[in-house]
């Protein structure tokens, strides 16, 4: 048999186990079957392993589906890890995704094996398909293995400057994952967050704010610059992002703006409290201490969030509602009411949360929801928690005017089958009775009627509420007390019995005949009562002993004796205490003198208050508000600052150059800190070099243009890394004092001087090197990174600056003011997409001209950066100013008005196509690569006959550079000349090739995706080269 068995075992599988079971004796057959079952299970996973290792895709896929099925059911599939991880590089995208799912689930448990898959992700991070890059980053960052933290960090940095916004969004998510894995990376991650916050894509905004909230919610300073952008983007952000951004902005606004509430912001806390008690209108009418002006940014936030009240997403609506509640002036808050009431139509869970928030709101501001009171009427089909919340709100909304309606409604509720709800209603009636004195009697009578109700809970609740009400005005209601005494026999609920006993005792003087009788009954049933009733019985006995000792002395002693031997120590204690207090003996004579005053002291009436009274210490709409305790990770909403912090911190780069301009025309405000950060002051040194930290968008553009140039430019990036290092050092130095107001504010006299010495340097083009550098990445990482994509795109200085200037305004038409413009062919300082224009203004009249500035423009959408108003131009004096115009890559003239104090003149600037370019430096190799991408439609060419003197190299580049602002590409061949540039507005690459042929002909080829500009340029070039 044993041999037999062995041979079966060789075949493996379940069969052998079954065989064993069959062949052994009956007694052990159970064990055999058990073994069989076990091995089936064992075989199942074995089977999966086999399938995963097979060569067939379909089998693998099938196996993975089953494995994921196991995970979904919560079963353990971890022992398959080695088999699964092998398939991570599979070509089949579905299989790959399933493997990813598996990896994310089990990598934490099998860290060593998980490392095997990392290289696959690193490769995928460079994939041309953005979906694959994104999912690789998603998985890589979801693998919670501490060893790969540096790799994750690198990948996040790469992805943060990816050209695809979807990948950048993924990187924002990865930031949070990395942070939860390794908190030490915080500083580096904040840098990435800072960079991503500048991102203009709506896709990224929500995710990066989420990362901000998780990693560094206290770094409010990172928000300043992006505040307006976020406000403006908000409507287009996806709905989940909106929720996160709104709640972040709520917190932000509470730290940056002063209180819009009419009460003085300084004593906000105090006046808030006063607000609860006092009548709303009264507070409102108090004279204002000082006029309040709302910060325009504050208004911007309120204005831009308002349309979101119409969102279909309930979370968005709620977050806007809480924003208005916490930030808007009191008279504007009520615009959220309708929307909140609308949410009550939504799912039950939504109702629950919204009702909670309304409950908190309605306590402070009844007026907001009063018109919608009927929306809070309870239906028999509502869930219990919804019912009690509605009841709560109805109670808060009740006032003198509507109380009768509310009470009628309550009458229906009291009859409800849901007894818990009926009890709640009785409490609500009690609260209404105390709040509104007019109806106290009505309510009391109603409650007394309920005492004859059949249901015990209702009666008991009524007794308790009546007791509370009677305490507020006991004098008039001895008949109610008598009535309750009569009911006493029928009431069995302990709390109610105790309440009646307490009432008897407290007001025993009003019912002198009944009270002793009740005590007599209690003495009989004392032993069978609940503890709480016994305690009150002892109390009643003591009080009666003091007031009516003649009738009750014996009864009291009897009860005290019973209490002395009670099982409950509380009762024994109380009995002992009472006995010492009231029964006079030698030892404690002093105390018993005061017994009357101790036991029958007038007691304050209890306050019937809402459970939501001080819920609003938590920000509305938060989890903490819902559970009424501080949830972990809850961020406090700060109080309004007494004095608003500096508003200018929110000014953004677009406006920033205005401040640079003040260098030339120092007339108004100070440069902002951002100025220091964005521009290094080396601009003023002879070697003018500006390291311009562009925002994410333009960087992406650059990298996308030059993505083919990786080999070449990596060396450049290393070169520039030292620069960027020094740059980032500078930045660090500056960020240390982020709020420093370095008022570089030369006096008016200095102005012309500065402008004189500044401009010549500015124009000496060969010294002016403008480089765009990815300065955010610390050089260490970019050097280490195998995946580095950092591309510096060198915008070089113009090869030639034409001296030719054009008339803008003739002195005859300009009534003495003459203006000329020329294109200095410099990258525009104000915005990279603008073309800079130099204008010289001369006063040829005999009187000073004042306030020369730019007025209306057309087309209206024209983006012009105006020069600052020239306050005064003396006769015969002239001044040179710079402005930036975004021609939007067309030669359409920019029309605008040049105004003086008295007059305005319509003028226009007509650019030549060549002035709309910026030269870039490129190697021949890159040039060819780029050219290869711009064939077909994007190519235009022409053959021309050249003048003989143009046949040498020098004159060729000369006329070309005159016509167009292009950079010369070093060429290996003598007869081919190449020029490269990009359009100012869209940054499209423009490539010009001039190929010299025999018999003084030449072939001009232009490659650019802007084909219109290409053909115009070709025309100009043809003309220039042929005539020269």
């Amino acid at each position: 048999m044993s041999t037999n068995n062995l041979s079966y075992n060789d075949q493996g599988g379940t069969d052998s186990a079954v065989e064993v079971g069959q062949e052994t004796t009956p007694t052990s057959s159970n064990a055999g079957a058990g073994f069989g079952l076990f091995s089936v299970d064992f075989k199942k996973n074995d089977d999966l392993k086999e399938m995963l290792e097979s060569n067939k895709e379909s089998l693998k896929l099938e196996a993975m589906k089953r494995v994921v099925g196991l995970i979904a059911k919560g079963k353990n599939a971890s022992e398959l890890f080695p088999a699964v991880v092998k398939n991570v590089a599979s070509k089949n995208i579905e299989l790959k995704k399933l493997v990813y799912v598996y990896l994310v689930r089990y990598a934490e448990e099998q860290q060593d094996l998980a490392l095997l898959s990392i290289s696959t992700f690193q490769r995928a991070l460079k994939d041309p398909n953005q979906l694959i890059r994104a999912s690789a980053l998603r998985v890589l960052s979801s693998i919670r293995v501490p060893i790969i933290v540096p790799i994750m960090m690198l990948a996040i940095k790469e992805a943060a400057s990816d050209m695809s916004p979807y990948v950048r969004k993924t990187s924002a998510h990865a930031i949070q994952k990395l942070y939860s894995l390794d908190q030490d990376q915080k500083d580096l991650l904040i840098e990435v967050i800072e960079k991503l916050l500048k991102d203009k894509s709506t896709l990224v905004a929500g995710s990066v704010v989420m990362a901000f909230e998780e990693v560094c919610p206290d770094r409010i300073d990172l928000i300043h610059k992006n505040y307006r952008k976020l406000c403006n983007l908000l409507v287009d952000v996806e709905e989940w992002g909106q929720v996160v951004i709104i709640s972040m902005l709520t917190r932000y606004a509470r730290t940056q703006f002063t209180s819009p509430w009419k009460e003085d912001g300084v004593f906000d806390e105090h006046s808030e409290r006063a607000f609860y008690e006092s009548d709303e209108e009264k507070t409102r009418n108090e004279p204002e201490a000082k006029p309040y002006m709302m910060d325009p940014d504050h208004r911007l936030l309120l204005r831009n969030t308002k349309p979101l009240l119409q969102s279909r997403n309930t979370a968005v609506v709620m977050s806007v509602a809480q924003l208005y509640w916490h930030l808007a002036p009191k008279n504007e808050v009520s615009i959220v009411t309708k929307s909140l009431v609308r949410l009550l139509r939504s799912h039950r869970e939504v109702q629950y949360i919204v009702l909670q928030n309304i409950a908190s709101m309605s306590i402070q501001r009844k007026g907001m929801f009063e018109p919608y009171m009927k929306s809070f009427y309870v239906r028999s089909t509502d869930a219990t928690h919804i019912k009690s919340l509605k009841l709560e709100i109805l109670t808060s909304l009740a006032n003198e005017a509507n109380i009768s309606t509310v009470l009628r409604e309550f009458q229906t509720y009291v009859k409800s089958q849901d007894k818990e709800f009926a009890a709640g209603t009785i409490q609500a009636i009690g609260r209404c009775a105390t709040n509104i004195s007019e109806v106290t009697d009505t309510c009391l009578n109603g409650l007394v009627l309920l005492l004859s109700n059949r249901d015990e809970t209702v009666v008991a609740e009524s007794v308790v509420v009546i007791r509370k009400l009677l305490q507020t005005q006991p004098t008039q209601h001895s008949d109610i007390i008598k009535h309750m005494a009569k009911l006493f026999d029928n009431i069995t609920v302990p709390m109610a019995r105790a309440s009646i006993l307490w009432l008897m005792g407290e007001y025993c003087e009003r019912v002198p005949k009944i009270a002793p009788d009740v005590l007599r009954k209690m003495a009989k049933s004392f032993t069978s009562e609940e503890d709480i009733v016994k305690l009150q019985t002892v109390n009643l006995a003591a009080k009666l002993y003091l007031t009516n000792s003649k009738q009750t002395k014996l009864l009291t002693q009897y009860i005290l004796n019973l209490g002395k031997y009670d099982q409950n120590y509380d009762i024994r204690d109380r009995t002992r205490f009472i006995r010492q207090l009231i029964v006079p003996n030698d030892k404690n004579g002093a105390l018993s003198k005061y017994a009357h005053r101790i036991l029958l002291a007038p007691k304050p009436a209890p306050l019937l208050e809402s459970a939501y009274k001080d819920r609003d210490r938590y920000q509305l709409g938060t989890l903490s508000h819902t559970i009424n305790t501080k949830a972990s990770g809850y961020l406090e909403l700060s109080d309004w600052p007494a004095v608003a912090p500096d508003q200018s911190v929110r000014n953004v780069e677009v406006i920033e150059p205005v401040k640079i301009h003040h260098f030339i025309f120092p007339s108004t405000a100070h440069p902002t800190p951002a100025l220091h950060q964005g521009w290094s002051w080396s601009t003023l040194s002879p070697k003018l070099q500006i390291n311009f930290a562009t925002d994410a968008e333009s960087r992406v553009e650059n990298s996308s243009q030059s993505s083919e140039e990786s080999d070449e430019s990596s060396s450049q990036s290393e070169k520039s890394s030292s620069e960027s290092e020094s740059d980032s050092e500078k930045k660090k130095r500056k960020t240390k004092t982020p709020l420093q107001k370095k008022t570089v504010k030369p006096t008016a006299k200095d102005g012309p001087y500065l402008s004189k010495c500044y401009q010549p340097t500015f124009c000496s083009s060969d010294l002016f090197i403008f480089s765009l550098i990815l300065s955010v990445c610390p050089p260490v990482y970019s050097a280490l990174s195998p995946l580095s994509l950092s591309f510096p795109l060198q915008v070089s200085g113009p090869a030639f600056v034409p001296e030719k200037s054009h008339d803008l305004l003739h002195r005859m038409t300009g009534k003495g003011l003459s203006a000329q413009y020329q294109f200095p062919r410099q990258p525009c300082l104000y915005q990279p997409t603008m073309v800079s224009v130099q204008i010289s203004l001369t006063n040829t009249s005999d009187h000073p001209l004042e306030q020369i500035h730019i007025g209306d423009r057309s087309p209206t959408g024209l983006n012009i950066h105006c020069f600052n108003t020239v306050e005064c131009l003396e006769p015969e004096a002239s001044v040179t100013v710079f402005m930036g115009i975004d021609f939007n890559d067309s030669t359409q003239a920019a029309n605008f008005q040049l105004c003086t104090k008295e007059d305005h003149f319509s003028v226009s600037i007509q650019p030549a196509v060549g002035d709309l370019f910026l030269p870039i430096t490129m190697t021949e190799l890159d040039f060819r690569k780029e050219q290869g991408k711009l064939l077909g439609m994007n190519e235009s060419s022409a053959t021309i006959t050249m003048a003989a003197e143009n046949m040498t190299s020098q004159p060729i580049s000369r006329p070309v550079a005159t016509v167009a602002n292009l950079g010369v590409v070093p060429s290996g061949q003598d007869d081919i000349h190449r020029f490269a540039g990009k359009t100012a507005s869209s940054g499209a690459v423009v490539l010009v090739t001039v190929e010299l042929r025999e018999s003084s002909t030449a072939l001009i080829t232009i490659n650019t995706e802007k084909s219109v500009m290409g053909s115009m340029l070709l025309r100009d070039l043809k003309q220039a080269l042929a005539q020269a």
């Binding site: 059911k73 995208i93 609506v317 039950r348 869970e349 939504v350 949360i353 009427y377 219990t384 409604e409």
Partner: protein, 418 residues
């Protein structure tokens, strides 16, 4: 944000779990199951439960509990809204949302959940986007898949995800271009014993089924937009145009979607289309009672009232009912004490009536309160508020679409107190 999701059936079995961050043991659900035991009805389970280390936020929908585990502060509505989206997604993909459907499509549901959240933050919840990433199952496709080995997983990034209009995919093509709009209005009302209206309001939904090629830009205008008091829109609707001109201007999603929901101005009196005469009484002796209900048309604007149904939750102490209906049929479930009378069309000449006796359990006291009646009804070709679509214009595409508008009035939460 959202840490984990558990799907739990009414008997308390966890049949699916998904973790977006590190794994949370399913024992965390015990707190929830405990609360569920305490609650009388599944609807009564509190949506937010506070446990020592986690917060549990759950919804109950389609006889399933969707339970999410939260570790840090997050707006509860954010989670609730998301959970409902999950349920809607399942409904959208597989036609219904139930335990069997989820179990049958376990892997696909799991993959969808994986795409919907990243690290607990919603990534793709737009149905159009999801459907491009993971194609919904159809019989044809599953046959093709088994034969050719292709998969349901898309390998390109959905176009919608990147554009500023994530709800629409590019390159939509139809041979028949059509756009249908359904104006559905629901009357929420509470009537008291005497038939007077305690509370009534009209809520409306404009649903749409748009099958148009390319990138159509639609404009829908109403004859009487003043009626609309409070509105909420699908993200595609341009709010500015609505603010200034009171027209709906939008590039529609492809397929079915809810264009807007609205609330009709509260000042307008709501026409109640039916009246209910009822008397439910219990004998003082406590042995039983009588029930007599008649439903008749009231303000129907000349249309027929259809699909009338009366639902009554009878008191727990009822033992049995013995009723006769002059029209339609009634069912009574003794377990849930639910009496449903399905009437159908209302005939003004012959009013339907349901009457008979109720018997109480022996010794049970006379019920305190009479049960309230919930009414269901439907009127075709009528928007009870009087709202009318004026016209639909299309810009941006050359073809002529086929257009249609349908009006329906229904009863929402329509309750008659007795």
């Amino acid at each position: 944000m959202i840490h984990s999701l558990f799907l739990i059936n009414p008997s308390g079995d966890i049949f699916l779990e998904k973790h977006w961050k590190s794994v949370v043991s399913r024992s965390v659900c015990d707190y929830f199951l405990e609360a569920k035991e305490k609650a009388l009805e599944p609807e009564d389970v509190p949506p937010v439960i506070h446990t020592p280390r986690h917060y549990l936020i759950s919804i109950y929908r389609d006889k399933l509990f969707f339970l999410s585990v939260i570790q840090t502060e997050v707006p509860p509505l954010f989670v609730i809204e998301f959970l409902h989206r999950v349920a809607e997604m399942i409904q959208d993909y597989f036609g219904e949302c139930s335990e069997t459907v989820v179990k049958d499509n376990m892997v696909m549901v799991y993959e969808l959940l994986e795409e919907m959240l990243d690290n607990g933050f919603p990534l793709a919840t737009e149905s159009n986007v999801l459907k491009e990433m993971i194609r919904p199952p159809t019989i044809l496709r599953s046959v093709v898949n088994t034969l050719t080995g292709t998969s349901n997983i898309g390998d390109t990034l959905p176009t919608g995800q990147l554009s500023t209009i994530p709800w629409r995919r590019a390159g939509v093509k139809y041979t028949n271009n059509e756009a249908y709009f359904d104006v559905v209005e629901e009357i929420d009302a509470i009537l008291d014993q005497s038939g007077t209206t305690v509370f009534a309001e009209i809520q409306g939904v404009v649903g749409a089924c748009v099958k148009l090629s390319g990138m159509p830009d639609l404009t829908l205008s109403f004859m009487n937009p003043r009626l609309l008091d409070d509105v909420s829109f699908h993200p595609c609707v341009r709010y500015k145009r609505w603010e200034s001109e009171r027209v709906l201007s939008f590039i529609p999603p492809d397929g079915n979607f809810t264009l807007m929901t609205y609330h009709v101005n509260a000042q307008n009196l709501v026409a109640i289309p039916v009246y209910v005469k009822q008397s439910i009484s219990f004998f003082e002796s406590g042995s039983g009672g009588r029930l007599d209900v008649t439903v008749g048309p009231k303000q129907t604007m000349g249309k027929t009232v259809e699909g009338v149904m009366v639902t009554v939750h009878l008191p727990k102490t009822i033992l049995s009912v013995n009723l006769t209906a002059t029209q339609g049929s009634y069912t009574y479930d003794n377990g849930t004490k639910l009496l449903v009378w399905d009437i159908g069309k209302l005939n003004p000449q012959k009013l339907p009536n349901l009457r008979g006796s109720l018997s109480l359990q022996a010794g049970a006291p006379k019920p305190e309160e009479n049960p309230s009646l919930n009414i269901d009804l439907k009127i075709q070709q009528l928007a009870i508020s009087g709202l009318k679509v004026n016209r639909l214009d299309m810009f941006g595409e050359k073809y002529k679409p086929f257009k249609g508008v349908k009006y329906i009035t229904k009863a929402g939460k329509f309750q008659v107190r007795t």
